[in-house]
């Protein structure tokens, strides 16, 4: 087996011409495929169409008319379902609006404007640093950047962020105020944080009293190949007296309808009290009609889990297609590697160093839009330029097959170009 990397310059040039021919064929096809975001496909959306049938009876528990004002922290019956789903007491949950991202942003805004539990507002501190496991979620990075927090990249291993690094960072420097992460099927590389990692996050000594874990549990129940378990960080934090450290977020955007579901923040009693007090200035309450529709549709946590199996059944062939195409296209020449997640929405493709941007550019030229290379890293700056996020959920199977073939040839072409430019 003679791979691209061990070829002579002339051999690579020959290969490159071959790849270029294949690539140019796609150019002529006039493709228009967008794989840039983790959008559910329309078959997934159809699973919840019953929600569009409306609400016959608009009275919730305690005869609350959901059509009118009130109930700042959300319907009790909605809290109950999530309490079951996450093994968190209902009183530690606040049901919010249509976007968990918005609650994360709002939490940052409150920390910067007002501080938390008597500590100085982050906006009044010289420097705030947030630990960002990489690769990570671009919208998390955007929030940190918007608020002027300095992002510190920490690599993710198979079991979660490098905890030796994390512990060192938080232990020494009281300007390190938080870590923002997706602990289950991490966006984009799919890792599930191990029990040990979760416990170390809950236990570690932090120089900052108001250190916070922004626990974006977006894919908590989004299993595809295997049902992984994530340790309950609240129970562990409580064990070490650090229960105020944790803010957990979740939404039904990838359970029912993206941007039209409901969301939640879960936190300690003290945090919940503080958030509700601040929230009461911001709003009279979130959309309770939507909350009750959710409750009527699912009834209980178990039905949500069953519903997620239907999502998995639609997503699995798409993930299979991505993984199998990569396997086939690179079986003879392992010039790239990729993640094999058990769930979530993404697969990461690791290219030869310095090729990711070029792959994305090449793919775009023939009509396949990928997430911007670099988006997986703080400040859009991946020094190795080797990471591409693939989002298989949105395209139809036929489109996905073509898109993956395009990506494969783009990887080959970019690698050949890169090797040639190095040899020169």
């Amino acid at each position: 087996m003679s791979g691209l990397k061990s070829m002579s310059k002339d051999e690579i040039i020959l290969k490159k011409d071959e790849y270029l021919k294949e690539y140019n064929n796609y150019k002529e096809m006039g493709l228009k495929l967008n794989m840039s975001r983790g959008k559910p496909g329309s078959k997934q959306l159809d699973l919840s169409n019953e929600l569009l049938n409306g609400l016959k009876n608009f009275h919730a528990l305690n005869n609350i008319d959901v059509r009118n004002y009130g109930v700042l922290d959300g319907l009790f019956e909605a809290k109950s379902i999530f309490a079951d789903l996450f093994d968190i007491p209902a009183e530690n949950i606040i049901i919010c609006g249509n976007s968990a991202l918005n609650i994360i942003y709002d939490t940052f805004a409150r920390l910067y404007l007002f501080g938390t539990l008597g500590e100085k507002p982050w906006g009044k501190i010289e420097k705030v640093k947030i630990i960002c496991p990489v690769p990570g979620y671009d919208r998390h990075f955007s929030i940190c950047e918007e608020f002027g927090a300095e992002m510190i990249s920490v690599p993710i291993n198979n079991d979660g962020p490098d905890m030796n690094m994390v512990e060192k960072l938080v232990g020494e420097d009281d300007s390190v105020k938080g870590i923002i992460c997706v602990p289950m099927y991490s966006n984009p590389s799919g890792e599930v944080y191990s029990d040990e990692v979760v416990e170390r996050l809950a236990k570690m000594k932090t120089a900052a009293k108001d250190f916070r874990v922004f626990w974006d549990n977006a894919y908590a129940i989004h299993h595809i190949y295997k049902e992984n378990k994530l340790a309950n960080i609240f129970k562990l934090a409580e064990k070490y007296g650090n229960e105020d450290r944790i803010y957990m977020y979740f939404s039904t955007s990838k359970v029912t309808f993206p941007g039209s579901g409901i969301s939640l923040i879960a936190a300690s009693e003290k945090n919940v009290d503080e958030i509700k007090r601040r929230m009461s200035v911001q709003t009279i309450g979130f959309d309770k009609i939507n909350q009750l529709s959710f409750v009527r549709f699912f009834k209980n946590a178990d039905n949500i889990k069953q519903h997620m199996k239907k999502h998995a059944a639609i997503l699995k062939p798409k993930f299979d297609m991505v993984l199998e195409t990569l396997e086939e296209k690179f079986k003879d020449d392992k010039i790239c590697s990729w993640s094999k997640p058990d769930g979530g929405y993404f697969i990461t493709l690791n290219t030869y160093d310095g090729c990711a941007k070029e792959v994305v550019r090449l793919a775009k030229e023939v009509g396949v839009i990928l997430t911007e290379a670099g988006a997986t890293h703080p400040y859009k700056n991946n020094p190795k330029d080797d990471c591409i996020r693939i989002a298989p959920s949105y395209p139809y199977m036929e489109e996905l097959k073509i898109a993956m073939e395009v990506i494969a040839v783009c990887v080959k072409l970019a690698t050949a170009e890169r090797l040639l430019s190095i040899q020169q």
Copy 2:
């Protein structure tokens, strides 16, 4: 006619005993009436029940599937309806979530955290002062207080805030950064700002470059007795080159369902660009299913106006009842006065100085909950203690009649007590 105020001490004591007897009768009735907030009554909510029937076709203009992510600033067809309703170009409108209050809060948060159009963040300035026409809306005051803005009370005349005072304040002091107000059927006293007042707000020279008018047009179309017209502040502001000064807010909370409708912010092109850029960090987009439901239900601005006439038909008898009961109860002894608004949600009752808190306390003791006295003023501090907000919309007619009788006797009793305490 011998009124309470001109009576001797002994005469007042006799009257007081009479009032007390009547008051005690109510005590025995075990009333439970809440008139504290401007909540629509259930017949008003019924007007929009068709909205609960769901959404058959989930594709908006340009084939947008409203069940999926996207469209940060809202559906074009929703913007179009509001563009018509308010005579504002659609491109100056951003459709948001379920609460205009939340957008006002978010605007404050952005101004404090980031500043606007290149000016210093308000959070980095020694002092920020906001002009608050009084009486005013308690939730506006809460937002100012939460952000640490110093509220400057300016009295409202029949045609709006005292503009001589406003112009003097904003002209001299660059820490005066804004005015927050309800220009149409002002909450709680019902004034409609005159064309002259609106023009002066649009025209006035402000020491602060980033002075902002928070134009909470909550009751823009909520006519009851008469259809008043509010001048278009955007057109006037543009005339004087001050178009960036205005943020207008509106929601359908009192058109369809409180807290489950949609809301908007309207602003100049520069402001809209800035808001969208900041908002894109906060959220992927608001609930488009709700936006499309709204569009399908109303179809056009004219239908909204027709719909508001149905609200008026339900509200008018309630406002009549309040006004007639006050008229009757105080026709022989004018110890208090009240507003006679053409629309909106409130009537203010002006008591004899130093009586408002006591009236609210007395009413509460017999089961009639009113808005906290003082809530109509910044810091809950009404130096004259003479202002009570009456919200007639929520109770049934029979309840409202009793509530008003209770309030009347409480006013009489409190006034008698007050006069006695002064005479001592």
